[in-house]
Amino acid sequence: MNKTVKNPRGPVMGRPMKKVKKGTFTRFMKLLFSFYKAPLILVFVCIGLSAVATACPSIFQRNVLDTVALAITEMSKGATADAMMEKYFPQIATYIIILASIYLVGLLCAFIQTRTMATITQGSLHKFRTLMFGKMQKLPIKYFDTNARGEIMSRYTNDIDALRQLISQSIPQVITTSIILLTVTTMMLIMSFWMAMVVILGVVAMTITSRVIGGSGAKHFRRQQESLGDAEGYIEEMINGQKVVKVFNFEPKSKQKFNQLNTTLCKHATMANTRANTLMPIMNNIGHILYAVLVFVGTLLIGQNNLSLETIFNGTTGTAVFTIGTAVAFLGLSKQFTNNVSQLSQQANAIIMGLAGAERVFELLDEEPEVDDGYVTLVDAREDENGTIVEADKHTGMWAWKHPHSDGTVTYTKLTGDVRLKEVDFGYVEDKIVLHDISLYAEPGQKIAFVGATGAGKTTITNLLNRFYDIADGKIRYDGININKIKKDDLRRSLGIVLQDVNLFTGTVMDNIRYGKLDATDEECIEAAKLANAHSFIEMLPDGYNTMLSGSGSGLSQGQRQLISIARAAVADPPVMILDEATSSIDTRTESIVSAGMDSLMKGRTVFVIAHRLSTIKNSDVIMVLDKGRIIERGSHDDLIAQKGKYYQLYTGVFELD
């Protein structure tokens, strides 16, 4: 792995919230619409209708109450109850029926909305996840070398969580609230212009308050997120290094440090939450005070007789009188109004978080994918009667490069594993060259070894062969073909790689071996396991080949995991193999058995071996000794020993001491 690039320091979860880039929201909405256009429109219509349905009924409520009041007034003047029932109740019933229908529509809309929203939310999250994952698979290795794993992970967990909040709650909430506010305002204006003005003034006060509290809340919220990140980062580090903690009796100190972090976190969290928790009661009670002011102002005006009752509470018809029904309805409306304003203020944080999440998701989606301009492909091949190479439709053990030319003709080149590097320079970062002037050729069937201190550039060379990275200068030819012309997938398919850090995947042992060749039969997998000398210990596992392995392959020793990964490469039966410290944790006895197996498998094919342990590479055809990115010696073991150079020193290092 590339060690020259530092992992970004600092906790993953506690990234500070910065201002969300412009356009993120638009892009997010566009994507949402592209996922679920019709359902989203349906939902928006439903939200609109149900919001109106929530706001409207107060009118009918008013009408019913007014009618009842009218009836009672008439009765107090001597009308009989029965007559009144007859006179007014049909009207009341009509109001109630209209009201019930509005309710019904609202209900239906709410029902459709919530259910569709569940589909949209989960479906969109699924799509975002798969989009990200698909994109991630296309990214060059460089991305993974330069980004901390936790950092990548948090985009799938924390950020997707934030998106869920945004899609399922914030967006519908904002729409609902806006529509309700609009409707309510309109109705308030219809009922009484001046009273509505008072309400609007109050709302301005609420908005300012929420700005003030919410603003300082955001600061504390950020601090909380930061200290949460610190604490969780520390937890992660300590728990991962738990065994070392125990060995060094470090528990009291780690507890002490954790206490510090935890206390800071608690302090900041309390501050942030206090802001959030007090916002609601404050907003609500400003609403309450608003009532009082509303009524007070109204009565004051009446009291001074500056305006008559009728003028203040004049409706649009110009004749509507301020009735008891209007009063109740108006107060209800103003309550609804202030409630919605405070709801909106509560959503502010979630929206910012959601958009920040969206931005980070987009960041991953916008990463430059690995480019592949290759057009030469790898095909199974066979020789026909004339000895020319033709494409075969099944695995023959022989491969060929299919090389289409601009004139439409296709030529086949037999894959032999002839790899040549000419004057290759390379640096992970442009101005820091780590490989200088590397030239080498591996002839078909040869076993080529790289030796050298850590950081000498051994792994880097293999990174170039399979084009995890592209060279800065020089040429790499594979069977005479410039590797830039070979399709990356085919290039990599032709190279089997076993790495020092074994990554097994969740699944059975069998699944893990089969990873090398998805259509391999059980027998082929077992054969490969035998070749890698893994068969005997696999048989000893509780469920043999069906034993479930977790991601970290727990329960297996490091050496056993390496054996499985060798079996995984062996089952792929690749034309060229790269073994990068593949046997470093395997004892030398087992190693010699494994390498005998590998040698027989790779007979006549090219193998690149990287190892610290000289015994691993001693029987290679060519050994390249690397030092600080340059090949300083090359030759067979015997040649190099005879040269009495660096290799000789390494090999006999023990004795040089005396």
Partner: protein, 581 residues
């Protein structure tokens, strides 16, 4: 959970204050109604209204103050709760033995300390904010409804059970799905993690599309389950609205009938709207209760996982009268049998008998999976033997104070880690009072000084988490230096020089011989050269001692040793490696 203690006080205050807040709100509604009514009663009402308004404002101010105070205490309580929970979990995890750690696996421990605590904290906050308020509100509203609306209030009694029933059914149906899907979700995330970590493997085998398909299927599965559960949950709000609306329509319908037919004497017309308000509030509180119900059930799984850690008994405890001094570096194994899990059929170690004298250098060699690491982990009591005894300095390790024992027995683990911090900070793990000279001395011993001096910041160089910015060999040497700083009586190196080149390796061993001759040194290695000049070489095979001897005698008599030796020297020609110095 007993961690509630500090929160209880806060909760009590919250309770009272919430009550006040709501009471204030209710009174305001009542006053308002009376206000409106009163206004229609008399001609000149200004003074009355002014005074009522003032009362309203005062009430609102009170409600505001108490509401804000409640919010404050609530956040203090819930954050304190989370803090205590985290602290207890962390402390507990720090006291875990290796066996406990193995049982939980690090990633699950981390999740429990982070995500699960956050979940529980959130539902805790919800609970203290609403669990007291909502039932209180509920009862209050019902009582008020009856007092105001008389017979009419029976509508409530008819509607409520329907609502309650639906809410419970919804929760009961959705919960099992949630439980299941959360597990799947975890699996999904761990598969992302595997991919991020193993991207080189994925790309090498050209499995991008395969992984994409696999992921897409798993993700779709999660989506389907979540959608199903959420659709069930989504019934909550329409049902609640249905009840609310029915209530409204019912009250309006029957209310106006009763009012008119009774000629306005059944109840005051103003109470009409009061009744509507209470109807709303009753439903709101019920809705809140159902939400709590959902939240609690959802976080119940997190709570269970947390309790699992808290309830875990540390398997390695100090004895009653611990020995607090390790006399010397003698090690003795008497008929030792060991297995990792009680139910495991096979012993990892069986019938190990061994005597090592203080100051000896012991090499341990053996095949992959031959229990080399297991053997040495018994010495600092990282695990307890299943049968038999391990003695250090003539005393059974189980009789020592664990800290004393581990201070005297320094292990450099095979899977070793450096922590984020400077080199100095890392080294001080071995001895927090170490001077710069001490550190330079041990680093020289471990051949680490040379490369540390090459760093621009020397001993103040910042090590990234997991030691990613130093090479494997450098990391190993730093780990050795750190262990040396403890000035142990016994030093154990578990394959700790595998990434160090042979020459440096030899340097380190030579330094050991000269500088710390009285320390017992146990060296596990793959390379014969690392152990061939040890006083005693132990050959392990499949959990049993195969042979004990020195290089010459083993080369003479032991097949395994001979085989390992030849595998490392064959093809070397005549040559140098075979000889002794």
């Amino acid at each position: 959970m007993e961690c509630l203690i500090p929160a209880i006080a806060g909760e009590l205050i919250t309770f009272i204050q919430n009550g006040n807040e709501k009471l204030g709100e209710l009174f305001i509604t009542r006053w308002l109604i009376e206000l409106v009514q009163g206004k229609f009663g008399t001609e000149n009402i200004t003074p009355v209204i002014v005074s009522i308004c003032l009362i309203l404002v005062v009430l609102a101010m009170l409600s505001l103050t108490f509401g804000a105070l409640a919010g404050m205490h609530c956040s203090r309580a819930s954050c304190g709760f989370a803090k205590n929970l985290r602290e207890r979990l962390f402390y507990k995890s720090q006291d875990f033995s290796f066996e406990n750690i193995d049982k939980f696996s690090t990633s699950s421990l981390v999740t429990r300390l982070t995500t699960d605590v956050t979940n529980v904290q959130q539902s805790f906050m919800m609970i203290i904010r609403t669990a007291i308020r909502s039932p209180f509100m509920f009862i209050f509203s019902i009582v008020m409804a009856f007092s105001v609306g008389g017979k009419m209030a029976w509508i409530f009694v008819i509607v409520l059970p329907i609502l309650l029933f639906t809410l419970i059914m919804v929760a009961r149906n959705a919960m099992p799905i949630f439980k299941k899907v959360f597990k799947k979700y975890d699996t999904l995330n761990s598969s992302i993690q595997e991919n991020v970590a193993g991207m080189r493997v994925v790309k090498s085998f050209v499995r991008e599309d395969y992984e994409k398909d696999k992921f897409s299927r798993a993700s779709d599965d999660v989506r389907a389950d979540f959608t199903r559960a959420e659709k069930i949950l989504a019934l909550n709000s329409p049902v609640m609205q249905l009840c609310m609306y029915s209530l409204m329509v019912g009250i309006l319908f029957f209310g106006s009938r009763i009012l008119i037919s009774s000629g306005g004497v059944a109840f005051e017309i103003g109470n009409f709207s009061t009744l509507l308000t209470y109807g709303m509030q009753t439903l709101m509180s019920l809705m809140m209760i159902s939400m709590i119900f959902v939240m609690v059930t959802m976080s119940a799984e997190s709570a269970r996982r947390i309790c699992e850690v808290l309830d875990e008994e540390t398997t390695i405890k100090n004895p009653e009268n611990p020995v607090t001094k390790v006399e010397n570096g003698d090690i003795e194994f008497k008929n030792v049998y060991f297995k990792y899990a009680q139910r495991a059929e096979k012993f990892a170690l069986s019938n190990v008998n061994l005597t090592i004298k203080s100051g000896q250098t012991v090499g341990i060699i053996g095949g992959t999976g031959s229990a080399k690491s297991t053997l040495i982990q018994l010495i600092p009591r990282l695990y307890d033997v299943t049968e038999g005894q391990v003695l250090v300095g003539g005393v059974d390790v189980r009789n020592y104070d664990v800290v004393t024992l581990r201070d005297s027995v320094s292990v450099v683990l095979q899977k070793n880690v450096l922590f984020s911090g400077t080199i100095k900070e890392n080294l001080r793990w071995g001895d927090e009072n170490a001077t710069d000279e001490d550190m330079i001395r041990v680093c020289k011993l471990a051949c680490a000084d040379e490369f540390i001096q090459g760093f621009p910041d020397k001993y103040d160089t910042y090590i990234e988490q997991g030691g990613t910015n130093v090479s494997g060999g450098q990391k190993q040497r730093l780990c050795i230096a750190r262990a040396l700083l403890k000035k142990p009586k016994i030093l154990i190196l578990d394959d700790s020089t595998s990434a160090v080149d042979t020459r440096t390796d030899a340097h380190i061993r030579k330094a050991f011989m000269e500088e710390i001759p009285n320390t017992t040194k146990l060296i596990i290695a793959q390379r014969i050269s690392s152990i061939q000049d040890a006083d005693v070489i132990i050959i392990l095979d499949d959990g049993k001692i195969n042979a004990i001897g020195n290089h010459e005698s083993l080369l003479e008599s032991n097949d395994i040793y001979k085989e390992i030796y030849t595998s490392q020297t064959k093809g070397a020609g005549s040559t140098e490696e075979g000889g002794n110095k």
